[in-house]
């Protein structure tokens, strides 16, 4: 866990992520939001050999179960944008299974809000 009081990194530390992504700039990729849930596909381990160490690390991390994109970034200590690029490539290669976020409140059925309310009530009463 990163100490939430930690200083923001100096700009120089940002060089590394750009190396990891081969200098690519973020495509506006709507496939992954901060809360898209991601896990490794069942057969991912058979096809890891040619992946970069970073992509392998992502797969190993999310091989244990579902995590949100934000959680993957937090655990890997990489900026969200970089993680999205890695995930896009992995998804293209068929390495990932994803679960999309719930649509936002204006479109949402009452059921989602009721579930959140009931869940909070049950836990914190």
């Amino acid at each position: 866990m990163i100490d939430p009081g930690e200083q923001e990194p100096e700009a120089a530390e940002l060089v590394r992520p750009y190396v990891i992504t081969d200098g690519r700039v973020l495509p506006e990729d709507d496939r992954f939001s901060l809360i898209t849930l991601v896990t490794a596909s069942a057969d991912h381990e058979q096809r890891m050999a040619r992946l970069s160490p970073e992509k392998r690390a992502v797969l190993e991390l999310c091989g244990g179960g579902y995590l949100s994109v934000a959680e993957i970034a937090g655990h890997m200590r990489l900026p969200v944008g970089v993680v999205k690029i890695l995930l896009s490539d992995l998804a293209d290669g068929g390495y990932l299974v994803t679960r999309a976020p719930a649509p936002r409140a204006t479109l949402v059925d009452r059921q989602l809000l009721q579930e959140v309310l009931d869940g909070l009530q049950a836990r914190f009463g």
């Binding site: 939001s33 949100s68 976020p101 949402v108 009452r110």
Partner: protein
């Protein structure tokens, strides 16, 4: 990234979970966002950075590499399993206008926002309220009462913050799970009224 972090099972979302929802916990500097998220989260709160690019004014070495300058903005977040099929994420976001790019990403798909305010420093909440409104997020106000803060009548606060009559105002101690959960529930009930 030094090595792959090893996580225990509890770090993962339960496998039956089908979808995730998101609420923003926002407010000015040191108003209690991180505390609130830590109080509510079932996982140790995480922090991640968004990299923002801006057209380079004075081009430095890094700027040469990418043709842009970058800044990072940190955001804290936590997770709460609502039931077998649904998890809720809480994202804490700083309220400065210069972070609009991050706001775009954070607000997309959010159910709504809980705006934490310190009754002693109400005017510091204006920029963040502007952002929340700009991104069209429905919100409730949680008055984070620090020790020794005198009671302030609701009406006075509503007027000072220029709230609509229907906007909920609730008092909240960000260190207390029950109190924090209650403010989230007030927000959810308000969201329910808006989709009838």
């Amino acid at each position: 990234m030094d090595s792959r972090p090893v996580l225990d099972d509890g770090a993962y979302v339960r496998s039956a979970v089908q979808t995730a929802a998101k609420i923003l916990v926002v407010g000015h500097f040191a108003v209690g966002k991180t505390t609130f998220i830590g109080t509510m989260s079932e996982i140790p709160p995480l922090r991640t950075e968004e990299t923002m690019t801006q057209a380079a004014a004075g081009v430095d070495d890094l700027g040469d590499v990418r043709g842009k300058t970058t800044t990072t903005v940190a955001m804290d977040f936590g997770r709460l399993t609502i039931n077998d099929r649904l998890v809720l994420y809480l994202f804490g976001t700083p309220g400065q206008q210069r972070f609009v790019q991050v706001w775009e990403d954070m607000s997309r798909g959010a159910l709504g926002a809980l705006i934490l305010v310190d009754p002693e420093r109400l005017e510091e909440s204006f920029p963040v309220m502007d952002l929340v409104e700009q991104y069209g997020l429905p919100y409730a106000i949680a008055v984070n009462r620090f020790d020794g803060t005198p009671d302030r009548p609701d009406e006075e606060l509503r007027e000072a913050l220029d709230l609509l009559p229907e906007t909920p105002v609730v008092t909240c101690d960000a260190r207390d799970p029950k109190s924090s959960a209650h403010s989230l529930m007030v927000l959810i009930r308000y969201l329910q009224t808006r989709i009838s």
